[in-house]
Amino acid sequence: MNKIKFKKFLISFSIILIIFLLDRISKIYILNIAEEVGQVDININSFLNFYLIWNTGIGFGLFSFDQSLIYNFITVIIIIINLIIIYLIYKSEDIRQYFLIILLGGSLGNLFDRLYFSAVPDFIDLNFRGYHWFIFNVSDIFISIGIICLIFVELMNYKKVK
């Protein structure tokens, strides 16, 4: 029984580590360019640009203030949410566990930047005919995957219960 639990823990930890490292490598690469050139504004194709911007707030550019008190308060909330996710991973048994792990991996990537740089670097700029989507990073991609899958599972379970 303990062996199975350890195996599960190892798989979960590996997924989190892979997501975290993918995010770190992408951010380090972009930050190195920023240090060498001074600014990151790379045009990949007509739909995708790399443009570095620092986010001090939360998602969708909300609560972006320079005041450290609000920043620290938001950081504490994010840490609490992460702890709740870890608790939910520990409690859940079905496929939701893996979606929560993906969510946690992405979330830890952004949390690390919040603690280390006091801001999160965003650089992926998707656009179509001049209409820009929110600029995001690799962590946000994994958070989105986790959230969408969790919502999908919840909706499926809701239908089954009905």
Binding site: I53, W54, G59, L62, D66, F134, I135, I143
Partner: protein, 105 residues
């Protein structure tokens, strides 16, 4: 109950995300107002130090200046007038001109 759960997932997701509006990027928003971590420092143009004249001369220049002084001393001893030289040289050029003109005529 499910609806509440979905709202909770959305709110927590908003905190975990870090995406930023594209308008901030187009306006060139920095990490914070005070930060200039990627600012390229401009160097001031080169200037002479204020007490540059008081600095001692290099050894080579010192020697050359003493040499010219010695030359001047020798000229004063020999009593060679430079102005006279200039006059004579102008006279010679005039005479050459006259000679050429004569030949042409």
């Amino acid at each position: 109950m499910k609806f509440k759960k979905l709202i909770l997932i959305f709110i927590s997701a908003a905190f975990l995300y870090s995406c930023t509006g594209a308008t901030d990027a187009l306006q060139g928003k920095k990490r914070s107002e005070q930060s200039d971590e990627f600012l390229v420092e401009k160097k001031n143009p080169l200037e002479l130090p204020p007490d540059y004249g008081e600095l001692p001369l290099p050894v080579d220049q010192e020697q050359t200046s003493t040499d010219t002084e010695e030359d001047n001393d020798i000229k004063s001893i020999l009593d060679i007038d430079t102005k006279v030289d200039e006059n004579t040289s102008s006279q010679t050029t005039n005479s050459v001109e006259e000679l050429i003109l004569e030949k042409i005529n």
